[in-house]
């Protein structure tokens, strides 16, 4: 009996303490099974940002947007070419003022018609500073951007003055500069149209986004899974070839791979590095490994005098020639990366500006020449290069160590190159932003749209948004300006390639390799492909 009284006190204490934490609990509602004959399941990661088109800058959220939205243009999954989707025509006479006419008949899945206003409202929302959209810079070419999104201070306008609705299906765009290939950038998800419910009931929209694409969102359990269903009201030619897609969040891509092996999952679009050796024997022909629009480079700190003096381009060229790219991509990446021979990506195609071998001898492994060039250039600044990278994700440590080994062997000096790991990605980005780099650092570039302009201007133009090393070259800037003003696409690409030649002659950054997208799938699926953004083309997958 005394025992019972004690127990009562114990329970009482627990109740008091737990009440203080005030943690409510209401289990997430989800409908578990019910995967019909034609629904496929695919691996997913928890999106980093809310699923707004202008706020999604990583591939996991991008997967959903690609299924739920269609924009003015869409990039062909095979060729990467921008093709008209909602756009009927985009006309311009001066490469600066554009008139957009959209096809009529398009609807959002809630029945609302897609009009010119759907686009203009969405773009104004994306550009406006107060909405915290991380892709806002996409609208930076549109006139009036500096008013709605000033670099400092508060915004003085809420809408872009360069956008005007001129009819139900037409609107005009005025840019701040000539930009002939601007229409081809409009396939990016940030330019998607938005229904009026996005603005009127934002919280509800975020819980269950509504778009105009071939799928609708059936249910969304944040952080866990999303069920997408084929939208029967979608009339365009690219309608879904399956009944739906269930995206499952995996914390560890190894578990996703194990699930694929056990027949518990249909599609894994991120093969763990440790499984690359077995993947061919495990999956046979059900493994795809195709180029994606990602290039990895080593960038340099040009704000550091040691890297920005005459002759240092020879040091950079020497370092580039000291890296045995073939060996590293074979042994460490199991051929899921291809040695780079220019500063763009093979997904552009030769017509789009990719030029195999543009880098020439500077990107070929030649230890004796490498050693000679480094010496001619005055030797390594401080006698040693430190390659800075973030150690928390990817297999960066492995390849940085391999690159350093290769450099050390070529230069015949054990201490010529060492890796300099930074604990977290955020801290890595911080140090880069504060210009604290003292030597080369890891730089990856995933294209926003498949245009040669996107591989050059944001990275190497003076004070461009991602010019982390602060490289600056008048000839390069001039050629890029000319290319943007050129209305003939072929001539524009030629000019961009000339600009790329300037990057090569100065070895502004050392190109390392092009990254591939890889995926494996179950024997239930066929017609699986990855688009140039390494996102599976879900709507074309056939089940059964």
């Amino acid at each position: 009996m005394r025992g019972a009284t004690h127990a009562k006190w114990a329970a009482c204490a627990a109740a008091v303490a737990l009440a203080a934490t005030a943690c409510g609990s209401s289990g997430g509602s989800s409908s578990g099974g019910g995967d019909g004959s034609a629904v496929l399941s695919a691996s997913w990661g928890d999106p980093q940002n809310p699923l707004e088109p202008a706020n999604t800058n990583e591939v996991q959220g991008g997967k959903v947007l690609d299924m739920v939205f269609r924009g003015l243009k869409r990039y062909n999954a095979k060729t990467g070419k921008a093709e008209d989707m909602l756009a009927d025509k985009i006309e311009t006479t001066d490469s600066q003022n554009f008139t957009v006419t959209i096809k009529s008949g398009w609807k959002f899945s809630n029945g609302e018609a897609v009009t010119a206003k759907s686009f203009v409202d969405a773009w104004n929302y994306g550009a406006s500073l107060k909405n915290n959209q991380k892709n806002a810079y996409f609208f930076g070419y549109i006139d009036g951007y500096d008013k709605v999104h000033p670099d400092s201070g508060s915004q003085s306008a809420t809408t872009l003055s360069g956008l005007k609705v001129t009819g139900t299906d037409t609107f005009t765009i005025k840019l701040t500069q000539k930009f002939s290939t601007f229409p081809d950038t409009l396939g990016y998800a940030a330019y998607s149209p938005l229904p009026s419910t996005f603005f009127s009931d934002h919280a509800a929209w975020l819980k269950k986004p509504v778009g105009n694409g071939p799928y609708t969102i059936e249910s969304y359990t944040k952080g866990s899974q999303m069920q997408l269903k084929k939208w029967d009201g979608y009339t365009n030619a690219d309608k879904a070839q399956n009944g739906g897609v269930t995206l499952k969040v995996y914390t560890d891509n190894n578990t996703a791979y194990t699930d694929l092996m056990a027949g518990n999952l249909d599609l894994v679009d991120d093969i763990p590095a440790s499984q690359l050796k077995n993947v061919k024997s495990d999956l046979g022909g059900r493994y795809i490994n195709t180029p994606a629009g990602i290039i990895q480079t080593l960038a340099f700190p040009y704000y550091d005098k040691d890297w920005n003096k005459s002759g240092s381009e020879k040091v950079r060229q020497g370092l580039s020639m000291a890296i045995n790219r073939d060996q590293i991509t074979d042994t460490i990446f199991q051929k899921t990366r291809t040695p780079a021979t220019d500063w763009t990506s093979p997904v552009l195609g030769t017509a789009g500006g990719f030029q195999d071998g543009l880098c020439g001898d500077s990107c070929k492994y030649d230890p004796t020449e490498a050693k000679k060039l480094v010496q001619e250039g005055g030797g390594l600044p401080g006698g040693q290069v430190k390659i800075t990278y973030n150690a928390d994700t990817g297999s960066h440590k492995e390849w940085v160590d391999a690159v350093c080994n290769s450099i050390n062997n070529a230069l015949g000096n054990d201490k010529a190159c060492v890796g300099n790991p930074v604990g977290t990605f955020a801290d890595f980005r911080n140090q880069i932003g504060q210009h604290k780099m003292t030597g080369p650092f890891r730089a990856g570039w995933q294209m926003d749209y498949p245009l040669i302009q996107n591989f050059l201007q944001p990275l190497y133009y003076t004070n461009a948004s991602s010019n982390d090393g602060q490289w600056s070259n008048k000839d390069f800037d001039k050629l890029v300006d000319e290319a943007n003003a050129e209305t003939d696409t072929g001539k524009a690409i030629k000019l961009f390639q000339e600009a790329e030649g300037v990057v090569r002659d100065n070895m502004a950054a050392i190109p390392l390799w092009y990254q591939n997208g890889s995926a494996g799938y179950s024997d239930r699926l066929s017609n699986v492909a990855l688009n140039p953004f390494s996102v599976p083309v879900y709507n074309e997958i056939k089940v059964g």
Binding site: G28, Q48, H149, S152, T251
Partner: protein
């Protein structure tokens, strides 16, 4: 007794404040989290400044901490970078982890104590030696090895279970992960019970009980076991906290979206609000579990009094 409980609850306050402050400082030392939000490129400065303002990161750390604690006491744990309320994340993560912990604790208690009693009563016999050997093996193998091995064997090779746990994370799905999670503690519980039982077997009160002519079952359960459980209860009490917070490895292997998953993601994305919020609740769980353990002593052993 009542005064003792109140005193213990009051003691929790400084521990709670100290622990949260430490976590808060540690997460802040990692640097500016906004820089990691824009992928491999520089966030545009205006948006970055705006985000910092919204998450209160533009203020000095002490002020951030005070604001945060103020909000916590009104039940507001802040917002994660993906726009979700941290309380919302907790509401989905904690039930899953609690279920997993319950499964693990039940396995620990039932199997661990039963094995402990059997081996303690049959000390030196073959069954004792083989169980001891078995627990030694279990203790020496890291959790991720047991986890991956069971997942591969049961999930892929034999197809008895699904290798990963679904969104619902029902009790039946959590049996294997729970077993993996419990395995090491299970071995400790067995060993603790065994030693304790073997010691108390020769004590006076057990001899008295036997002399009174009580049935063997009653002697063992009512007299011997009850008094031998004190070290075991201490262990299990602290283990509850460890299991809830330390399930990161098991949760990753079996893709369980519980506390471990949220903590891992919070740390990787440097999401101060998520990490501090979850750790705060875990600290509370630890404190409460410890208090309960102390109170249970009195229930188990009538000689112990609290005043």
């Amino acid at each position: 007794m009542g005064r003792y409980v109140v005193r213990r609850l009051l003691q929790m306050v400084p521990v709670f404040i100290g622990a949260t402050l430490l976590i808060f400082l540690m997460v802040n030392v990692m640097g500016d989290p906004i820089a990691g939000l824009c992928g491999d490129r520089q966030c545009d400065p205006a948006t970055a400044a705006q985000l910092k303002k919204e998450f209160g990161l533009d203020k000095p750390v002490w002020q951030q901490y005070l604001t945060y604690m103020g909000n916590v006491f009104t039940g507001d744990f802040g917002t994660a970078f993906n726009g979700q309320k941290v309380t919302e994340l907790m509401a989905t993560a904690f039930p899953v982890t609690i279920r997993l912990t319950v499964v693990a604790i039940v396995i620990e208690v039932v199997v661990g104590i039963a094995l402990g009693v059997v081996t303690g009563l049959r000390r030196g016999r073959p069954i004792d030696t083989s169980v001891l050997l078995l627990t030694l093996i279990v203790i020496s193998i890291p959790t991720f090895v047991t986890g991956l091995l069971l997942q591969l064997l049961l999930g892929v090779e034999w197809g008895w279970i699904k290798p990963s746990v679904s969104t619902d994370a029902t009790f039946s799905e959590l049996i294997v992960p729970g077993l993996v999670l419990a395995s090491v503690s299970l071995a400790y519980v067995t060993r603790l019970t065994r030693t304790s039982i073997a010691e108390n077997r020769r004590s006076d009160y057990v001899r008295t009980a036997v002399a009174k002519g009580l049935p063997r079952r009653r002697v063992i359960i009512r007299h011997l076991l009850r008094n031998s459980l004190i070290p075991v209860v201490t262990f299990i009490g602290t283990d509850i906290g460890a299991l809830m917070g330390g399930a990161i490895v098991t949760e990753r292997i079996f893709n369980i979206h519980g506390v471990g998953f949220q903590l891992y993601q919070g740390i990787v994305r440097q999401n101060t609000q998520t990490v501090v919020g979850f750790v705060t609740v875990l600290v509370l769980v630890f404190l409460v579990a410890n208090l309960l353990v102390d109170l249970l002593y009195a229930v188990l052993d009538p000689r112990i009094r609290y005043a």
